[in-house]
């Protein structure tokens, strides 16, 4: 086993290896929602699920990993303590990850068999000689040297800065992406440029101004003085100013007339001014571990290194020290940190890369992007209709049926075909069945996020049974579903938690349950005569907050159950013989997350051009405004309530 620990498998280690084999903890990649959508009941197999790779012993990979998530998966794998294993279910080539220790088919039976395999492997191989060190491109770092005052000066060798002569300091950056773009905080303590910094003095200074700081940790000497908290970039202007008295300016370098410090060039305070990016680079001094403890203390550093002849320590008021720091809504100036809530965060859709700038535990800014890289809709110049339908279904593993239906309808329109009304109605029922499964999937994710474990278990279990059930099976499951929804709405404190959370500005491009929960009546199904025959009526809500979205989705589940009951049968969408026709087709389908629209061109029976618009892009655009200023838990609930599918962002 590659992820084993070194040592011989004797005595106590054998006992421990057996215990490890029986106590498997899995970290699911890309996420539990994908696992549920593929029909896997992970909890039922005795595999305990871990919320963080640190507590996991197995990396469970469901289906082929998109290229964009491979790096994140290798990071997650690297962060797992040994002995660790990889379980891959139809994942294909695992590129940056090592080979899987157990593989299986993407079915429950395949999972169970693979787990049994895995337990045997671990029991025999948890300690052994098969251990190999794991390294991946995403994990590598290299040391580069930069000037504290001129962050754009970067070199691979130690030396002196060509601009000011300061000794270059080492900085750890991730290879291959250089973080040179993060301007380093200005070590604008002019003193350090000229004098060998005195660690003792700096320690003393820090001790004086920061009572709680651990003064003993000032090991790193070239950072004896800390610059201001904002990143400054040099420009060509010849103005010089005193770091502690900004009102003192001069055209020539020299000494400040108020305090005697050496004047430093004025840099424009750009957009990073308000940003605590100090941290990025202070952290870089990996070997000077204690030093980075002061990464955040940069705000009050400009006084440092005062034990140089002729310069006395100058008291800086809090106002001066925090002048350029970001201010929160209550006026306090605190330091903000950038925290990734990366692609594999439990409770959020798998594959969504969220980066939050946190001000304490409130979100100051939020940025989201899909970790799933863009996929070409048409892999060859001319795709056969069946292959096209399959590709479109593979685009979104969370709602393949809706996309199949989309492709089928567009193809039929292009070919001029019209499906029989009962086929159309059976296909609509399939789309509705998937809507129920998707909403239940979302409910299970919501349960994970808010700590309602019973909801997670029951919604996931129900979803597994419902996704492939026929009309009779669904009718049999209806009482359980309505009971679950009733119990959910009666949960104490639930509405209290969601009320007022996650309101968003009105957007024209919004569709789906999110839009309808805010009062919109747009639903692609209302124009469809098939649905009209089934007695469909648009369901809307009021409030536009997370609570309204929850109510909207549970209402849609109930509505879809009724529609399926009236349709009577379910059939997967597929096209009959298209032949060699040519034409343009266009279709719009209400996927569980909103309206998706497809336009394609058929030439000689093959699809030659296609473009698709999915509802997710509009939803992702809401995240920034929705999360800003909210507490972390509320922001996560709000983002979760949007039910974003990072897979659909690709096209």
């Amino acid at each position: 086993m590659i992820g084993a620990r070194s040592g011989a498998l004797t005595g106590l280690r054998r006992l421990v290896a057996n215990a490890l084999a029986r106590d498997l903890r899995g970290f699911v990649v890309p996420g539990m929602d994908v696992a549920w959508a593929n029909g896997l009941d992970l909890a039922g197999t005795g595999l305990h699920l871990a919320t963080t790779p640190r507590h996991a012993s197995v990396l469970v990979i469901i289906g082929p990993l998109p290229a964009g998530l491979a790096d994140a998966a290798s990071v997650a794998h690297a962060q797992m303590p040994r002995p660790r294993a990889i379980l891959a279910l139809e994942a294909g080539d695992l590129a940056p990850l090592p080979a899987a220790d157990a593989t299986g088919a993407l079915t429950q039976a395949g999972l169970v068999a693979a787990l049994a395999d895995l337990r045997r492997t671990i029991a025999n191989g948890a300690f052994g000689s098969g251990a190999r060190e794991y390294s991946a491109p995403a994990l590598e770092t290299r040391i580069e040297y930069t000037c504290p005052m001129h962050p754009e000066v970067v070199s691979d060798q130690p030396g002196n800065c060509p601009k000011c002569g300061m000794t270059l300091v080492p900085r750890e950056t991730a290879a291959p992406l250089s973080h040179a773009g993060h301007a380093m905080p200005d070590m604008s303590d002019g003193v350090t440029a000229e004098t060998p910094p005195d660690p003792v003095a700096a320690t003393h200074q820090h001790g004086a101004h920061h009572p709680s700081g651990d003064t003993k940790t000032m090991v790193e000497d070239t950072h004896a003085g800390h610059g201001h908290d904002h990143a400054k970039q040099t420009d060509a202007s010849a103005q010089y100013t005193c770091p502690m008295h900004p009102e003192v300016t001069s055209d020539q370098p020299g000494s400040c007339r108020k305090c005697g410090m050496f004047l430093v060039p004025v840099e424009d305070k750009d957009a990073h001014a308000g940003h605590g990016h100090t941290q990025t680079d202070h952290s870089a001094l990996g070997s000077h571990s204690d030093h980075s403890a002061h990464g955040g203390h940069s705000g009050h550093g400009a006084h440092g290194g005062a034990e140089v002849a002729g310069i006395e320590a100058h008291f800086m008021s809090m106002v001066d020290l925090t002048r350029d720091m970001p201010a929160s809504a209550d006026g306090l100036k605190m330091e903000w940190i950038d925290v990734p809530f990366g692609p594999f965060f439990p409770g959020l859709p798998g594959g969504l890369e969220l980066e939050l700038t946190l001000d304490g535990d409130a979100v100051a800014a939020a940025k989201a992007e899909s970790g799933v890289s863009a996929v070409n809709l048409l892999r060859e110049a001319a795709t056969s209709p069946e292959a096209f339908i399959d590709q479109l279904a593979a685009l979104s593993p969370l709602s393949p049926v809706a996309y199949r239906e989309l492709a089928c309808r567009a193809l039929e329109q292009a070919a001029g075909q019209n499906p029989a009304s009962d086929t159309a109605s059976a296909r609509a029922a399939a789309v509705e069945r998937e809507r129920i499964a998707s909403h239940l999937n979302w409910l299970a994710g919501f349960g994970t996020q808010s700590g309602l474990h019973w909801l997670e278990r029951r919604a996931a279990g129900l979803q597994l049974e419902l996704r492939h059930a026929d009309a009779r099976g669904i009718a049999a499951l209806t009482p359980r579903t309505t009971a679950l929804l009733r119990r959910l709405h009666r949960t104490p404190l639930l509405h209290d938690k969601l009320n007022g959370n996650g309101k968003h500005a009105d957007g024209d491009a919004l569709s789906g349950p999110v839009a309808r929960a805010a009062g919109s009546t747009s639903d692609a199904r209302s124009d469809n005569p098939v649905y009209g025959a089934l007695g469909f009526g648009v369901l809307t809500g009021t409030g536009g907050d997370a609570r309204a979205r929850l109510t909207q989705r549970t209402g849609e589940i109930a509505q879809s159950l009724g529609l399926i009951a009236r349709a009577g049968q379910i059939a997967m969408p597929e096209v009959q013989n298209i032949g060699s026709v040519s034409g343009k087709g266009e279709a719009i389908v209400e996927t569980p997350r909103g309206a998706a629209q497809l336009r394609l061109t058929l030439t000689g029976g093959k699809v030659t051009q296609a473009e698709i618009s999915t509802p997710t892009a509009a939803l992702v655009a809401l995240i920034g405004a929705m999360a800003r200023g909210r507490e972390l838990g509320d922001a996560m609930t709000a983002i979760g309530s949007l039910d974003i599918s990072p897979w659909e962002l690709t096209a």
Binding site: A19, P83, A126, L358, L452, P492, L632, G633
Partner: protein
């Protein structure tokens, strides 16, 4: 000798609570699970985060264990079966439990990781919410017993258990105890949905095992405190005293561990608001009511 017996009882109790908790979480009763998990954790690597605050990182779980043990040291399991019958037992319990906060903040700060640090500071907010609601009900209990010694407090309930005498205090105390042990729905420091493990996240291997053991001991100590203060300790007919204690403590611990899972995680702002705007006035009212009753009624 008594110390040994009590410690053994503690170990057994912690094991049983671990079984109860895994039953509440996974829906399956697996008696061997805690032992297997403990062995497995021993066998996993204990990773040290880069640029940690080593002292805090190591001290967190150890301090948590010590706090739980000291709190459990003043819980009487039977007349004479107590580690130390301090004259200021209830006060000492409170003092020991105050270190839970310190331990969690150390555990959050130490690894220099975002999720952990936020978890630690959130727990401080939670502390401000629950701290008064632990102390005030204890005061009311001490008023009836005229003593801070836990043994005397139990003996004072011979006529009527405090749960009937001061039900308001009981409710406040139990909810605050759940906040102290960060049990759902007040599990803000280790919220799986918001913080992916939070304070616990950076601990792996044997350190995680110690942290989890410490938490079990803490829950046991809190259940013991609830039983001592409100449910009459070892008092009860027919069965011998230690059996009554064990039964009551396990039932209370089981309820604490499972009952909260029916409700979604309470937001920190909401918890603070409820505690201070509703909880503290109620606790003060409780003290007043108990004061009046204690003067009027002789039991």
């Amino acid at each position: 000798m008594t110390v040994l017996v009590v410690l053994l009882a503690l170990a057994a109790g912690a094991y049983l609570i671990a079984i109860l908790e895994s039953w509440a979480v996974h829906g399956r009763l697996e008696p061997a699970r805690p032992a297997i998990s403990a062995l497995a954790l021993l066998g996993r690597e204990s990773v040290l985060a880069r640029t940690p605050d080593r002292l805090f990182f190591e001290a967190g779980p150890i301090l948590l264990l010590v706090a739980g043990l000291l709190a459990a040291a003043v819980i009487p399991l039977a007349p004479g079966l107590i580690v130390t019958d301090l004259a200021t037992g209830a006060l000492f319990l409170n003092a020991a439990l105050a270190y839970v906060l310190v331990a969690l903040i150390m555990a959050g700060w130490g690894p220099n990781g975002a999720y952990g640090m936020i978890g630690g500071w959130r727990f401080l907010g939670q502390f401000i919410a629950y701290a008064m609601l632990i102390v005030m009900p204890i005061t009311a209990v001490a008023m009836r017993a005229e003593s801070l010694s836990t043994v005397t407090i139990v003996q004072s309930q011979a006529a009527l258990w405090n749960i009937a005498y001061q039900p308001l205090g009981f409710v406040l105390f139990v909810v605050a105890a759940m906040g102290l042990a960060w049990l759902p729905p007040l599990d803000l420091p280790t919220a799986p949905g918001d913080l992916a493990g939070g304070v616990e996240a950076e601990y792996t291997g044997v350190r995680l095992a110690v942290l989890r053991l410490a938490r079990m001991v803490l829950i046991l100590a809190l259940a013991g405190a609830t039983v001592t203060f409100y449910l009459g300790g070892w008092l009860g007919p027919w069965l011998p005293a230690p059996v009554w204690s064990a039964l009551k403590i396990l039932i209370v611990a089981g309820l604490m561990v499972s009952a909260g899972r029916l409700v979604p995680r309470v937001r920190e702002a909401r918890y603070l608001e409820l505690s201070w705007k509703l909880g503290i006035p109620l606790a003060l009212a409780n003290i007043f009511i108990v004061g009046v009753i204690a003067l009027v009624v002789p039991i």
